[in-house]
Amino acid sequence: MAGPTHHAEPEDAVLFAPVLGTTRRFWLGAAPLLLLTLWGIYAYTLQLRYGLGVTGLNRPVAWGIYITNFVFFIGISHAGTLISAILRLCKAEWRRPITRAAEAITVLVLFFGLGSIIMDLGRPDRLFYVLQYGRLQSPLLWDVTSITTYLTGSSLYLYLPLIPDLALVRDRATGWRRSLYTFLALGWRGTPGQHRRLERGIAVMAVLVIPIAVSVHTVVSWVFSMTLQPLWKSTIFGPYFVTGAIFSGIAALIISMAAVRRAYHLESYLKPVHFNSLALLLLVMSLLWFYFTFAEHLTAYYGGELAEAMVLFAKVTGRYAPAFWAMAVLNFVIPVALLANRRTRTVAGAVVASASVVVGMWLERFLIVVPTLANPRLPYERGLYAPTWVEVSITAGAVSFFMLLYMVFTRLFPIVSIWEVREGRQGLKEAQQRMAGYLPGNAELAPAVSPTPVLR
């Protein structure tokens, strides 16, 4: 770990430390991730050379774990922007140290969502035909549009609150870092005009990104539910996918927070109370996920339409039963057992529950994509699908590359928003006043903007 910085300001020094230089421990952590990434790239070059034949895909299972990864990664991306925007709008004070970590996940993981689609293309060389000849009747183009909108929006939403921090770091950094931060900070000096513009920008974006984020995963679900395939053609797929996305997103956020907390000694910023709040949110989402899953499967079971029943029983009692019940345990039993109990709702408990949810949600996406394809409506084909080492390597490479990028991000940008934490400290009085404003009667600290002279 970087030693104490010799800069004058001791305040928040621990937040500045990671971005002012790298340590050996960082490179030791990055090396295996880099190796796995390179391995994934190697596997992809094989696929480029020999075509999708190197995968386990076939007829009728023509989509496999690349599409699973696509849905999964886009889901993880809902961690950030959505949670941070909602908390900002609600003026939830506990958001201050966690928004940056969340927004960074969103932006970085989105690239892997897009990347998974490209991995899945038979002709990636013709990717730009989508822009050149696109037709918006295809749900795939809805994806292209909404993900581009989301990626742009969430990048801006990450960047805007970063500007004051970049200026703070700029004033402390040296060498190439100083040039980088000077460039990125746009000459931020904290003038009232700059503040006004920034705050307006953040406020507008916080409202705008919420519908965009919801639309993105809805549109992802529509890729499936616009078809006629059994158990895909479902009206609740939109909200079901959004729920799952927020669910896995919060889990990823908790894990990443625990990781940076430990790596950069941020115990005094990311406190058990933050984990507790997020863990409660995760618990709620777990229950909501269970509700949707139950409704989705019960209707298929009760209706008993032959094609749907084939898929349903393949999932529940057939070939995919181990994955299905593992998903139920990982997404529902473990998180609820751990998080509903105050004694286990600790930082460690939240991390264990989150890890379980991340794996469980990947399985959930897999179980949406594959069993339906393996059991098509006509009874003539029954598919078998097992990913090959190429697919597994590319997936592992993508996950490692994401983790690597996240590590690099924490080394380039303060992972806890410094100015927002400081604003929170200075704004204690204002927050107290706001809380007093919620209460009945004329509290001592009623907001100055609306004095209550009635009782005076």
Binding site: L136, L141, T149, T152, L156, F183, L186, G187, T191
Partner: protein, 78 residues
């Protein structure tokens, strides 16, 4: 450096304009092909306003901050 950081608002704004341009191209393509006109209009009417907001963000917020950053030294935050 002060000139250089103008790149950021210009890039963001340029991207927003390019995307709106692409959307208009899609409308044109759909009209010419007489194919999926309703879908294209619906998507365009939702997406273009969003990118106009991004454009506003690039010009007013990012551009404004950058402009003030280059200006004469003023009072810092009170």
């Amino acid at each position: 450096m002060e000139r250089l950081w103008r790149v950021i608002p210009i890039t963001v704004g340029g991207f927003a304009v390019a995307f709106i341009g692409w959307m208009i191209r899609m409308l044109q393509l759909s009209w010419v092909r007489n194919d999926s006109w309703g879908f294209t209009v619906t998507v365009a009417s939702v997406v273009i306003p969003v990118f106009l907001v991004y454009l506003w963000l690039a010009v007013y917020v990012l551009g404004g901050i950058a402009r003030e950053g280059r200006g004469p030294e003023r009072e810092g935050r009170p």
